[in-house]
Amino acid sequence: MKLLIVDDSQVVRSSIERAARTLGVDEVLTAADGETALSLFHTTWPEMVTMDITIPLLDGVECVKRIHQVSSRTPILVISALNNQQTAMKALENGASGFLTKPFTATEIEMALRDLIELAESMKK
């Protein structure tokens, strides 16, 4: 399983990566801004993505939209500190598969990733 983590915070990236590794994700790619995220997506084709909303160069909702346009079967988990329903809804309407608010606990991220992996696996079939 290949996971792309997009977040401008090193701390958040590594905590998501740690959780993903414990769940058996063997390949993890990371990006700190929207443009890197998109080019990385197009070159590596990960099976799932976690996406921060407030990232430099290209915002998360836009990234979700573009990824969804080229690969609608890739599940995207939006992780954002913006705890407002409008942002969540906008991301979901643009093709995200789920929404998690920051800060999250270890259990929360683990549960969310588990759902994401399950979804990615069901998409492969």
Binding site: P75, L77, N83, Q85, Q86, A88, M89, L92, E93, A96, S97, G98, F99, L100, T101, M111, A112, D115, L116, L119
Partner: protein, 601 residues
């Protein structure tokens, strides 16, 4: 015939939801397999409504033949000639299809399902069954179907009754986004509507809040997308908890949850649960307000206890006078002059260390020249302070008279008076001992009505107060150097004061030290402490903010045990703190009656 009995039974509507085949038996007419075929012909010709007969075999086994099957055999070439004059057994030997058997305890629904699985040509064949005594009987398919329809109408009535009476708001959104007819009456009532069926959920909500309804419409669309993750949709729920106004303008506090029903990879329905939190929220708000008032009063009390008693009454009188002026503000009043009075009084409050008053007056100064609504809220705050102060002014006066010279208090018998002095001596000793060991400086004051307490109360308080003043030196008062750096006098002050409040004594121990370090307490408490306030944590033994467990604080009993012994005496203890300025413990003890007291002596 049994036939008529059984059908009457059904018509009377005595059917239970748990009805079984046994109760539907239509006929128990039986023949022996050794009877000749004419017997069957006679039965079926004379009783046209007989669905079939039971055939008993010589070994006691039972079989059954339907009327339809019998006539089918008779219609065959030479049928009557072959069977009429020979034993019925021959029919069975020739492999004529017999009735299928189902136990009498089979539920009506299960039987109906079984019937639907039959082939078209044999669908209406009656069933062979038995009652609980093993006695065979024949059930006709039509009576099963009639019972089934009766059952479903009973179920529907029960469901309707449930939906009409449950307090929960419950409804189902179908895949066409419309609300299905089976919703609870409470759901309609909460949304302020008579009929929800056929509406979309956002239409139903638009009655309460049209903007919210728009967001709900988008959310419902998202919910119907099967590719999205159930658990991770909740943060997007715009109506997880929200406030609105009912059609009658009453405030309403609702929480709405959605549950998706998946069928073959699609979202077929969404269950919606609406919870009315209005009453709970109102109670919560009232409790919070009550607690805030109590907290404020307490702060005022501790501030008063620390203030110079000779200047207090004068300040409170001036404060009262200002409040009265503000409440009865007349048009054309010189607001600027009032503002200057606020400012002057604020200075006085600061000098006396009355921070609640200082803060309130500071705000008052700011808004005094603004519009009426601003002033109204400010006057509200001042009025609360004033009410608190009025109660406490009495106490202040009492403290003033008692602290000036306790020996002249005429009402106190000398034996009890010596208790007051003994307590004072003991606590002063504890303070100075602790000071010597820690290199800190502290002044100790004992005030109030300890002379009115029984030996029982004093016995408890001796232990408790000794530990609290020691704690005050060790944990509360800073070193002289720290104090000077913080702009305080090098010598700290520890005050223990008591007052009577109806059937209770209230005892306060206050130091003007660094206050509780909430952060450090939380850290020590670890994750488990997140739910508990810092004020609660210090009463949990084993959680202490002291960097090193000092010999003194470690000696004696912990705060947890102190609280326990106070609780045993029917009292309470609470802590109040202001980082950088004070920590105060408030003990409330019920008074023991005087009879008890005399017996004690």
């Amino acid at each position: 015939m049994h036939a008529t009995d059984a059908s009457k039974n059904q018509a009377s509507g005595s059917l239970q939801v748990t009805a079984t085949l046994e109760g539907l038996v239509l006929s128990r007419v039986s023949v022996s397999s050794q009877d000749i075929g004419f017997v069957l012909r006679g039965l079926f010709q004379n009783h046209p409504d007989l669905p079939g007969v039971i055939i008993t075999l010589p070994d006691g086994a039972v079989s059954g033949l339907s009327k339809q099957e019998y006539f089918r055999q008779m219609a065959r070439p030479f049928g009557p000639e072959v069977y009429n004059r020979r034993p019925i057994k021959l029919l069975l030997d020739h492999g004529v299809p017999t009735l299928s058997w189902m136990p009498g305890s089979t539920q009506v629904e299960a039987a109906a399902e079984e019937i639907l699985r039959r082939s078209e040509s044999r669908r209406y064949e009656p069933l062979l069954t038995n009652d609980r005594n093993g006695c065979p009987g024949i059930v006709d398919v039509h009576s099963i179907l009639i019972a089934l329809s009766q059952l479903s109408s009973i179920r529907a009535r029960q469901m309707a009754l449930i939906l009409d009476t449950v307090p929960e708001g419950f409804l189902v959104i179908g895949s066409d986004r419309k609300i299905l007819p089976g919703y609870s009456l409470s759901a309609a009532a909460m949304l302020g509507l008579f009929d929800l069926a056929g509406m979309t959920f956002d239409e139903a909500l638009s009655n309460l809040d049209s903007k919210l309804a728009d967001r709900v419409r988008s959310f419902v669309e998202i919910l119907f997308n099967p590719a999205l993750l159930d658990r991770l949709l909740e943060p997007a729920n715009p109506v997880r908890e929200f406030q609105a106004r009912s059609a009658h303008g009453e405030p309403l506090h609702l929480a709405i949850r959605f549950k998706r029903v998946r069928e073959q990879g699609c979202i077929s329905q969404i269950l919606v649960m609406i919870e009315d939190l209005t009453l709970r929220k109102r109670l919560e708000n009232e409790a919070t307000k009550l607690r805030d008032t109590a907290q404020m009063r307490f702060e005022v009390l501790t501030q008063l206890a620390g203030a110079d008693p000779h200047h207090l009454p004068g300040f409170l009188d001036n404060f009262n006078a200002l409040c009265q002026r503000l409440e009865k503000l007349e048009p054309g009043e010189d607001l600027n002059a009032l503002r200057r009075r606020c400012h002057a009084l604020k200075g006085e409050a600061g000098a006396l260390g009355l921070s609640s008053f200082r803060t309130a007056l500071h705000k008052a100064e700011d808004v005094i020249e603004l519009d009426a609504p601003h002033r109204a809220s400010m006057i509200g705050v001042l009025a609360e302070l004033r009410a608190a102060a009025a109660d406490l002014l009495t106490l202040a006066r009492k403290l003033l008279s008692e602290s000036s010279d306790p020996a002249t208090a005429s009402s106190s018998p000398s034996a009890v008076l010596s208790r007051f002095q003994a307590l004072k001596k003991m606590l002063s000793l504890a303070v100075s001992e602790a000071c010597n060991l820690t290199g800190k400086q502290a002044r100790f004051e004992l005030r109030g009505c300890f002379d009115m307490m029984s030996s029982r109360e004093l016995g408890l308080l001796r232990e408790v107060l000794q530990q609290l003043v020691r704690n005050a030196v060790v944990h509360g008062i800073e070193t002289p150097a720290q104090r000077v750096a913080a702009g305080k006098p090098p010598e700290g002050t520890i005050i223990v004061a008591a007052r009577e409040a109806g059937e209770f004594f209230e005892i306060i121990t206050q130091d003007d030290g660094a206050g509780l370090d909430r952060e450090a307490l939380r850290n020590r408490a670890g994750e488990s402490g997140e739910e508990i306030s810092a004020e609660e944590l210090i009463f949990i033994d084993g959680i202490s903010t002291a960097q090193t467990l000092s010999e003194l604080a470690g000696r004696g009993v912990g705060l947890g045990q102190i609280r326990e012994s106070i609780l045993i005496h029917g009292g309470t203890i609470a802590v109040h703190t202001q980082p950088g300025s004070y920590t105060a413990f408030q003990i409330v003890l019920p008074r023991t009656n005087q009879m008890h007291e005399t017996a004690d002596r």
